[in-house]
């Protein structure tokens, strides 16, 4: 009886032990963080194609020019390159026109039917384009979502029409008028997209919490109001000139959804898993962390998409993902650097590289010893970037020796004098000398120490171990905490106490987005530093003032060339002074396509139209080959 009575207690004890073990496992998992991919990159050419044809352009004829007094720019073969190349004058100027020479959808040789399986590497964030997070989400984000403007052709730094066919800068830069494409149908029979839907979609950032869009409120802060201006137009009224507003129309804050649907299902939270957009495929099911399923949107404005269905499978185990690609269980897969050699050896797989991104770190120059330029320079000089590329990234990164970040002309900023001279050139002895000089001046004994944070992601952890070793050589002890992801790393740095280094990257390197890249300048972290009395040293303060003044000036400059030059100056200064965000190297994302079962692989391989600019590619340009 006693034994029987004790049995429940035994179960309890057992269960508590199990919970403890599970809890331990969870804690270890959390401490170690997420299983994310090596961001992959390549020794890519420094010059990107600039004359690739625009594949996305226009199956639907352009609408009439607005009745206002727009001075239309004649259509050219490269329609998108000049977003806002107009001086701030009273005369409104149309700045985009359709490209009559652009190829029509579907691509040549495309076959209808079948299912495309795309293998992604981690649990995707919500497939609602407006509320998703993460740069890699471009892999699937544009299957069902579309923004007002697109990117490409050729590179991600040019703009293309999409749901808007034209954009004009009016009222001396204080108003942007968008011509809304006619005949665009929402998925699921929800009817035509209207200017009201467009205005409403934009205005979501005004709702509490920006209706779930991270960074939208900040991105749209120059916008005073968005309003319908007749049957075909939507106006963005700005409270100041914002030269980067056009490029923001290609991003998540400009994704257009159906107001009717959003309201009917109950708003932002429900819309995360049931988004209705205008893109080529309609989401039918999302099993978080497992699969996202889509079906064809027959009334897509560019034409009937090729495949009947598209599935985005989450295959986080690298070797399994490659196996899925090799066996044809996946048509297209996201590749990590360690998968590339094997994928390239397989004649059934075409491997190609997508767009560039920056890979480096965010530093806090208010925390010692990073508050001295000599230390920051020494830390850069101590890194043998070629060895880093070979040992950690299997030579898949692009280590620029001539530009600061973006390798594409004309936007590339010339930084030869930094990388190729004593300023940053790899030189352990020189780096050590700088550290010793600093320590002597401050009365410190070596090694100097500082802390960092890195997300649990094999390549970034290995990068930090590499940095640790390199910096040890020059008398600096670097320790880092491993976190679940980059947001958790940033949260550790936020109090401005001891974590001064956060390993990170940015998906695009477009000059017009440098404002976002340097958003740390006004971040909560910097506000906390101010509260703690941790100021920049006078020299750094001077640099920050100059960067901020340049950013402001650039945002007010409507002339493309002038503005780009201002941003290049920002890029140069920030790189030279290792100022908060540093582009240690450039990466590219690699993809593999099984050409035995998939049509369209060849186009990607040849580099034709690869750069949709949302960072990845367009699923609708692939098709399942008929057996």
């Amino acid at each position: 009886m006693l034994r029987a009575a004790l049995r429940p207690l035994r179960s309890t004890a057992l269960a508590v032990i199990v919970v403890g073990l599970l809890g331990g496992a969870v804690l270890i998992t959390a401490a170690c963080g997420s299983e994310e991919p090596a961001p992959t990159a390549t020794k890519a050419p420094a010059v990107a194609p600039t004359t690739a044809p625009a594949a996305t352009a226009t199956a639907v004829p352009a609408t009439k020019a607005p009745a206002a007094t727009a001075t239309a720019v004649p259509a050219t073969k490269a329609p998108a390159a000049t977003a806002t190349a107009v001086p701030a004058t009273k005369a409104p100027v149309a700045t985009a026109a359709p490209d009559p020479a652009a190829p029509k959808y579907p691509p040549a040789g495309g076959q209808y039917g079948g299912t495309l399986n795309m293998a992604y590497f981690r649990a995707p964030t919500p497939p609602d384009g407006y509320q998703s997070e993460g740069g890699f989400e471009g892999f699937f984000l544009w299957i069902n979502n579309e923004a007002l403007l697109g990117r490409g052709p050729g590179t991600s730094v040019s703009l293309a029409e999409s749901l808007a066919t034209r954009w004009e800068v009016l009222d001396e830069g204080l108003r942007v008028r968008l011509t809304i494409r006619k005949g665009v149908q929402f998925q699921g029979g929800l009817g035509l997209m209207t200017p009201q839907d467009v205005a409403w979609s934009f205005n979501r950032w005004l709702e509490p919490g920006a209706a779930g869009c991270p960074g939208c409120a900040s991105a749209m802060r120059s916008v005073k109001k968005i309003e319908v201006a007749g049957n075909d137009f939507v106006d963005l009224a700005l409270d100041r000139i914002d030269a980067s507003i056009i490029v923001k129309l290609t991003e998540r804050n400009a994704v257009i959804h159906s107001q009717k649907h959003w309201t009917a299902i109950g708003g932002a939270d429900a819309h995360k898993s049931k988004p209705i957009g205008t893109g080529p495929y309609k989401l039918t099911e999302w099993q978080p962390g497992t699969v996202i399923k889509y079906e064809r949107h027959n009334e897509w404005w560019q034409g009937k998409p090729l495949a009947d269905f598209v599935n985005v499978l989450t295959i986080s185990e690298t070797r399994t993902r490659l196996a899925a690609l090799q066996t044809g269980q996946a048509n297209v897969a996201f590749l990590q650097s360690e998968m590339i050699p094997a994928a390239r050896k397989d004649s059934n797989i075409d491997v190609w590289a997508g767009d560039f991104g920056r890979e480096g770190w965010n530093w806090n120059p208010r925390i010692a010893p990073l508050n001295d330029i000599r230390v920051r320079r020494a830390l850069v000089k101590a890194i043998d970037r070629d060895a880093l590329n070979t040992s950690v990234y299997l030579d898949t990164m692009y280590m620029s020796k001539t530009t600061c970040g973006l390798p594409y002309p004309p936007q590339a900023s010339d930084c030869k004098d930094l990388w190729q001279t004593e300023w940053f050139r790899y030189d352990v002895a020189g780096a050590k000398k700088l550290i010793e000089e600093y320590a002597k001046e401050k009365g410190l004994t070596l090694p100097l120490t500082f802390k960092g944070a890195v997300e649990r992601r094999p390549d970034r952890q290995q990068l930090n171990e590499f940095l640790q070793g390199a910096w040890r050589e020059i008398g600096v002890t670097y320790t880092f905490e491993t976190t679940a992801n980059v947001a958790a790393s940033s949260a550790l740095a936020e109090p401005c106490t001891d974590v001064a280094h956060v390993s990170t990257g940015s998906p695009l390197t477009e000059l017009r987005l440098l404002e976002g890249t340097f958003s740390l300048l006004k971040s909560v972290e910097m506000q906390n530093c101010d509260k703690l009395g941790k100021k920049l040293n006078p020299e750094d303060q001077k640099v920050q003032d100059e960067i901020e003044a340049l950013l402001l000036e650039a945002s007010l400059t409507l002339d493309d060339t002038k503005r780009d030059n201002l941003y290049k100056r920002v890029d140069y200064l920030a790189t030279k002074y290792v100022f908060e965000t540093f582009p240690l190297m450039n990466r590219q994302n690699f993809f593999g396509c099984n050409n035995t079962i998939t049509g369209g692989c060849g186009n990607e391989k040849k580099g034709i139209d690869i750069n949709r600019g949302e960072g990845f590619f367009r699923q609708q340009d692939f098709w399942a080959k008929k057996k």
Partner: protein
């Protein structure tokens, strides 16, 4: 027996309460803030306004006791809430994955029994023979080989090289029984092999011990045939420790399939909870862990009941 079962089920309540406190506490001591996660941009820059909004919306700055009570009250009323991350109902998400995890756990467990018990018996009956040594080697290898590695080898062999099986993924049996079976083969073997090794070793040693008991000698002296002696008299008694081990293994399997689920990209609870831990999706982590630990508690109860079936001398009053 009924009274016993009722008592055990009532006894589960304090157990579950303790588990819920432990699980809740674990999620709250994890580093990281879910609001920061949801409000971070690509580069990890946290949107302060969105963060504040999310914190308030989910009551993440309320006292822990308030948060715990709100969670438990919701659970009791059947309102498990929605995932912070996906906005999808927690119950719905756990339910769909729990079905798969149970399938995988039970199939792997049965595989382990089907391999382990016959091998253990054969090994005990042919003690020190080549077969015994081969079986022992299998057991050692089964214990030593990580199941993810075995899984990977199987993928390369059966999926990439031979093309017999899919690399992974799951097709519900209702959609296609053939694809379902093909998809379950490798994960089941990868998980079951390691478990079968322990079962084989335990069956072997328990049977050897039983075979030396007086009642076995008596049975043989009575003139019973060897198969009857072995299968009816010896094995039935030898299986008691095996039942204990295997039912606990089953409980462990329910929470221990995460690596296999990851290798074969299967939609199980384990992998889902790990993703939720990374995303700091508290409600998913809490309910997922509750499910997994409940599996262990129930497996333990099943073990106790199974004793009575195997050994008539055991009676719970």
């Amino acid at each position: 027996m009924k009274r016993y079962l009722l008592r055990r089920l009532i006894g589960l309540l304090p157990t579950l309460l303790l588990i819920s406190i432990a699980v809740f506490s674990i999620t709250r001591v994890l580093p990281g803030d879910p609001a920061a996660m949801l409000a971070a941009s690509d580069e990890g820059v946290i949107d302060p306004q969105l963060r504040a909004f999310i914190t308030e919306k989910y009551g993440l700055d309320d006292p822990l006791v308030t948060q715990y009570w709100r969670w438990m009250w919701g659970v009791v009323r059947g309102e498990w809430g929605d995932s912070f991350f996906s906005g999808v109902g927690v119950f719905e998400q756990i339910r769909t994955r729990a079905g798969f995890t149970l399938q995988l756990a039970i199939l792997s467990w049965l595989t382990a029994l089907l391999i382990g018990i016959p091998l253990g018996v054969a090994s005990a009956l042919r003690r020190n023979s080549i077969g015994d040594m081969a079986a022992t080697s299998f057991a050692v290898a089964g214990i030593a080989l990580p199941n993810f590695w075995l899984g990977m080898l199987m993928i390369i062999l059966f999926a990439v090289m031979l093309g017999w099986l899919p690399t992974g993924g799951y097709t519900p049996i209702s959609e296609s029984p053939v694809l379902w079976a093909k998809g379950m083969v490798m994960p089941t073997i990868a998980l079951g092999t390691a478990l079968s090794a322990g079962i084989m070793r335990l069956t072997r040693s328990a049977l050897l011990e039983v075979l030396m008991q007086d009642y076995v000698r008596t049975a043989r002296a009575k003139g019973l045939g060897e198969p009857r002696v072995i299968w009816l008299h010896a094995l039935r008694n030898a299986l008691l420790p095996v039942v204990t081990l295997s039912t606990l293994q089953l409980g462990g399997l329910i929470g221990g399939t995460v690596v296999t689920e990851t290798v074969f990209f299967l939609p199980g609870v384990g992998r889902f909870v790990v993703d939720a831990v990374i995303q700091k999706d508290y409600l998913i982590v809490q309910m997922g862990l509750m499910f997994l630990t409940l599996g262990v508690v129930i497996a333990n109860l099943v073990a106790d009941v199974a004793y009575t079936v195997l050994d008539p001398r055991i009676r719970y009053e």
